[in-house]
Symmetry: C2
Subunit: 455 residues, 2 copies
């Protein structure tokens, strides 16, 4: 096995790798639009062909109820090497509004250091980075086993992926999953995302009188459901910005000093969040920095609110009904079902006898976290330092990526998330682009990663 | 002058009076529907003809920007008698849903003791009661001066009435106004409404981040506008159900023991309000009975609430914006402009620096009240006792009747409200009906009232 041979191969074939990415980007694999169904098949086959070309075995294009899943595996030269499952998706977002693009979304165009096309960053660029790092490592003697799982429905919520994983547990058996669908914070700061928040989503309905009332004739004798709902919502946070659902923080892992120090390295301070959000001032749980609050602390947000008359003008109705959509972002080891029980307990304690309430638990999923000290995270961190010359940043993501929780639940394996797109890559927006120098460093880092894992 | 002659006349002409009411009810004078414009003219002329027939002078049908106003006056036999302005409206609500009527809405039908037709109670029956009491009193020698002001736009908010009153102050000069557009609480309990609440209506808008945010990526760092709005609303009442706007109660007239005793006579206890509203339990300002809270105490109600995503399902949006429609019902001597300033002061004191807010003052009007000890209220109370054999109930109405405030503001005169419709008269609903025995007693009471005023 020779890391050096693999890295040299990368340099020799850099032009072809870019050409392959451009070829991949030319197929408009828009998963949400039925008229692109044939393009989706074509893209799946393109990925399968590329896998075969780099020497993958057992390459298959699995049909699903939606778009196909592509699978292929590459064998390590040493029999007892670890097995890494590489996750990716070949589908992209729609390109609209087309008039906002400076070059057509499905005609990849290099301007300066960037390649512009729909999917360049999210995530065809990352899929090619993984495939080409594998190809180069094959050339140097593959130090680990690789399995590729490339789906075509991520941009529509991956409805058929969990059943596929559940139905192919043996095929997908691995030591951990590499998911390069996250990004980098800055071109000089490679990033490892090691945690994602989970979700518990509710609809809370408050009922008062049997029908809407005249607010003059009855205002003052019944508890207005909109007011009662406001009182319940207001009570869900204390003055420190802490969520008051009973037991809400019981299972939340405390942040140790080392992790807080790591998170403090992220260039995401108050000024960053003020600029990103445009809010007049920041707000949140006392005692935690913004990046800690978003990544490592659970939250409760009102996603929607409705009652009574909301049209133009005035209507003096005393509404019979009020509704709020409320969701909690969860951290490890909070459980969505337990949080639903906590929400119910809060309502039982605080809802007054003057109204009736109903709570619908809409959907949810647990948070996920990978040990930063695990050998694979350390192998990736070391690889990044070998390429960029700096220690990577460790980041917790505030949102959810369902496939990570699915792989944790179904296969029992952790994912480590990374990626080589930049924050100004215009994901899901016009003029999506890939910063090519960063992308090339990313491929190099993956090669190092594979060899580090075997060391 | 002979009260007895007038009362005898009533009995002799009872059949014709009912026939005239039926004729009046046959014209579908639906003010809100343009296709009934000709019917509106026809109804106005019908009223003018009836006024002329009973001996009114200076009868005029005044065109307005909408439907006509009918005027006519009757002279007392004594020169220095008081002048009463009788207010009424000849328009009715639409009759839909037609299939719910047991007999056609514009074919008046007597079943048992009730007359069924759209407008029977609201308020063609009351207009005819006033006209026929005047006709009978003319026969006995009219003891007071009467002026009739019968409009055609009450069911559409009387948009042209205030300008008409302002433009005809001399014509409408009077000692007080009789407004029979209120009703009776029960067939054996004649009712005088001596106070109406006013209104101050607001739209409160709360802004946070510059655009909707992903609740995972930003939940925990910005103050959710829906949550901030809920906190502001929750703070607008204290635990005693009192409104917390600064100075809100400063000008509210205290209830004296005598008035509380009068209000306690009303058969509107907790059980009544529970049955009427269907609320699980009553709610309101501590220390006051339901009927006091609705009539004599100011309130603050949320009329509408909106933020974020309110469709089916789940969307993890952190909304940039939240809105509430909020209105206060006012009692004498609260001023709508002062209440707007109090709302603004509350928001300035309580809105956190993490959000921006805007308050739109939409519309409002003052409360009105008539002295229960005034000679005309006493004259009406006595008349009711003469007919029913019981002291009338004195009621404060929780809603607003704009014409009462307009007459108080423009002419400087108080109104006394009564009427002979019953709570089960289905106002604005299918099968509207008039309880004929009560209606006939009402006409008798008005005759007594006219004579009592001159005594």
């Amino acid at each position: 096995m020779s890391r050096e041979q693999a890295l040299a191969y990368l340099e020799q074939h850099a032009e072809r790798f870019l050409a392959e990415l451009e070829s991949f980007l030319r197929i408009p694999s828009i998963s949400t639009l039925p008229e692109h169904k044939a393009d989706m098949e074509r893209t799946a086959n393109w990925v399968a062909e590329n896998l075969r070309a780099i020497g993958a075995e057992n390459v298959q294009v699995f049909p699903t109820a939606g778009h196909p899943v592509v699978y292929g595996e590459l064998r390590a030269v040493q029999p007892n090497a670890p097995t890494v499952l590489v996750y990716g998706h070949y589908d992209v977002q729609p390109a609209e509004p087309l008039e906002a693009w400076h070059s057509p979304p499905f005609e990849p165009t290099v301007r300066g250091e960037r390649l512009y096309a729909r999917g360049a960053t999210d995530m065809k660029g990352q899929v090619i980075a993984s495939l080409k790092a594998a190809e180069a490592a094959m050339h140097g003697g593959l130090p680990i086993n690789l399995k590729f799982l490339i789906e075509g429905e991520e941009e529509v919520g991956s409805p058929n992926l969990a059943p596929f994983i559940a139905g192919h547990k043996d095929l997908l058996a691995c030591d951990f999953c590499l998911n390069p669908d996250a990004g980098m914070i800055a071109p000089d700061l490679p990033t490892i995302t090691y945690a994602l928040r989970g979700l518990a989503y509710f609809e809370l309905r408050v009922y008062g009188p049997k029908q809407d009332l005249h607010s003059g004739i009855y205002g003052g004798v019944v508890h207005n459901p909109a007011q009662a709902l406001a009182e319940l919502i207001a009570g869900m946070h204390d003055e420190q910005g802490r969520v008051t659902l009973p037991g809400f923080y019981d299972k939340v892992r405390p942040l140790d000093d080392e992790e807080r120090a790591e998170l403090a390295r992220l260039p995401m301070d108050e000024a960053f969040y003020l600029a990103q959000t445009g809010a007049p001032a920041l707000w949140g749980e006392a005692g935690y920095t913004p990046v800690e609050r978003v990544g490592a602390r659970p939250t409760l947000e009102v996603n929607g609110l409705y009652s009574g008359f909301i049209g133009e003008g005035a209507k003096t109705v005393l509404p019979a009904y009020a509704m709020a959509k409320i969701s909690c972002r969860l951290v490890p080891d909070q459980d969505p079902d337990e949080v639903a029980a906590q929400m119910r307990a809060y309502l039982e304690q605080h809802a007054p006898p003057t109204i009736r309430w109903e709570l619908e638990v809409m959907h949810g999923g647990p948070a996920s976290i990978t040990d930063r000290k695990s050998p694979w995270v350390q192998a990736l961190a070391q690889a990044m330092e070998q390429v960029w010359g700096v220690r990577p940043a460790y980041k917790r993501e505030g949102g959810s990526i369902p496939v990570v929780a699915q792989i944790q639940e179904i296969l029992g394996k952790d994912s480590v998330l990374t990626g080589f797109g930049l924050p100004d890559g215009n994901l899901h927006a016009p003029n999506e682009n890939l910063h090519l120098p960063t992308w090339r460093k990313g491929i190099m880092a993956l090669v190092h990663f594979f060899y580090n894992l075997a060391d």
